[in-house]
Symmetry: C2
Subunit: 350 residues, 2 copies
């Protein structure tokens, strides 16, 4: 698997996920503002991956502060610059809490290092903290994979939505990490991938990732999932998450909530796989998760060409919220959490 994110001493490159699988091309950013745009434009996407990207963006901002000569070396100005850069980066996309989590983690460590050892120490710390976040994420995903695979019964056909794979993380993936591990354990017969309109993460990214690992994958339009379930061809649904509220409500790619309703109707388990960095214990329920609405053109056009007639409007929420009551279990790096989520999440989050 090609990495979604590559850090090289003074720049970070992203495998351009708008072009895959047709084109394999990296976009290189040497400035945190470029990273912000790469996140905003979905060159890099997926909650853990944009967290890592944001972490490297803070590292780039710290380097910029270090290079900016005497003026920026005024301690208050440096702190101000880093804080503003961090909040700018966090504003790139509002829903995934991993972005804010990773940016704040690097920012806080960097500010502490700056206070104790100046800009040189700050740069070192920013880079090593961002690198740590990336490395830890891979570790976390492997653990999620192992815990999650224990939920999959041998011979299962599993349906997933969007791409919660290596491309969306530091590697291995959350939902696809579970699928990879369960496939390795010979528990999975086949994977169904919702195409995931409008960005087609399923058809383009998940299918691409799974085929590279030799995993049997069949793409379907998002609206066909109900029919597939009614044919008895889905044993479990597993998805990633962009933010999980304290009560277990899950924000994830638009269409996730739809799948969860269909699972309930068909009595199929609905699993969410996510690192604890996706958990937002500060909000009581999904009602408080900001849901990004993206440009109407993402729905009305396809590759720059209009699909819909001129004058048509579009509703384009990028995420939806699945109520905790529809979630069978949440797979984290610390184990599988079952309902009641409010209680069990707060225990594991400690």
């Amino acid at each position: 698997m090609l990495p979604a994110i590559k850090w090289e001493s003074d720049r970070v490159s992203f495998l351009d996920q708008r072009l895959l699988p047709e084109e394999v091309k990296y976009v290189t950013c040497r400035d945190y503002r470029q990273v912000k745009m790469a996140i905003k434009d979905m060159v890099v996407r997926g909650a853990p991956a944009i967290g890592i990207a944001g972490a490297y963006a803070v590292a780039l901002a710290t380097m910029e502060a270090a290079q900016n000569g005497p003026r920026a070396k005024n301690a208050i100005e440096v702190q101000e610059f880093l804080r503003l850069a961090a909040s700018d980066i966090k504003a790139a996309r509002p829903t995934a809490v991993n972005l804010a989590w990773a940016v704040d983690r690097v920012l806080n460590k960097t500010l502490a290092a700056f206070a104790s050892s100046g800009l040189t120490g700050a740069v070192e710390t920013a880079v090593s903290e961002a690198t740590a976040i990336e490395r830890e994420d891979l570790e976390v995903n492997r653990k999620i994979g192992e815990y999650g695979a224990s939920l999959i019964k041998p011979g299962s056909s599993v349906l997933t939505h969007c791409n919660a794979g290596a491309l969306a993380t530091g590697g291995f993936g959350t939902a696809l990490g579970v699928i990879r591990q369960a496939w390795k354990e010979k528990k999975i017969a086949r994977v169904y991938a919702d195409e995931t309109r409008p960005f087609l993460q399923g058809a383009r990214l998940t299918a691409w990732e799974l085929l590279q690992d030799g995993i049997d994958v069949t793409v379907l339009v998002d609206s066909a999932a109900a029919y597939l379930m009614s044919l008895g061809r889905v044993d479990a649904v597993i998805v990633g998450a962009d933010r999980i509220a304290r009560n277990g409500d899950v924000a994830n790619k638009i269409g996730t909530f739809s799948l969860a309703c269909l699972c309930r109707y068909h009595n199929i388990p609905f699993y969410v796989a996510a690192p604890l960095s996706t958990l937002d214990m500060n909000i009581p329920s999904g009602r408080f998760i900001p849901i990004e609405e993206r440009p109407e053109t993402e729905v009305l056009e396809f590759r720059g060409k209009m699909i819909a007639p001129k004058g048509a409007k579009a509703f384009n929420p990028s995420f939806d919220v699945t109520p905790a009551s529809l979630v069978s279990a949440i797979v984290t790096e610390k184990g599988v959490i079952f309902p009641p989520f409010e209680e069990n999440l707060s225990q594991i989050a400690r």
Copy 2:
């Protein structure tokens, strides 16, 4: 509104629904085999519309028999030719029962006319019967519109799927007929149109039709319907049908069943609008409705360009079956049918 189907003495033309709204172009058929291909390739689509197309195809086949000289004038050969042509036309698409219904209706009348007054009478009858089917369908849709509008509460936001409009019928539409009528009665605040992958009938055709009538329309990806409902922004869902079984199970465009499940979860009424020609009293339930699976490329490619990676498979059912238990009411030209459908449909079908 441009008509979806135009009959002109010895040919039938179809507004090419693969190209709308980008291009407005008619495809002209002078041979029933061309009509069959136009149905198969979805130049013309929608259950009532392919019924009308099939009816005209039988008329073209009858003209062909009349023009074929002495050999075809052998009575048994003529009958055989017409029967084979009819079953060939019916094989174009398996799910919508309207196709078989219309073809058989024209065939039977034509064979009777042939027996009593030879080929000249047969041609006259075939053409006038096909024309009658088209004309009646428009009438039927206006009645469906009126009955259906009575179900819509003032100020409603209505969601529809696929295109059950003028383009899918002899004019006015079934589900869109209800919407048109309710809009005229000022009961509808706005219409949401599922884009309806993979053929995008919603984004391309429904949005185009409604905009032409000045009806406020917002397109969304199919998977966003659940989230829209959870925001309280959908007061009713109304769709067409390709075949309704004796027990009220409804085959319609893939994604319909998904919507019906979501309506149940959100306690939103789910209405089906269809002429009685869509009713198949010969089958006890939806389990017996043949569900067409279309080429994988319709999902894996977009306008001839691959979306998914090479090697990916696709599941591409064109329809699904919504169990009667999820249907709030079926709107027909004879009135609104409520559950229990088995009983109430058999009464109206008499």
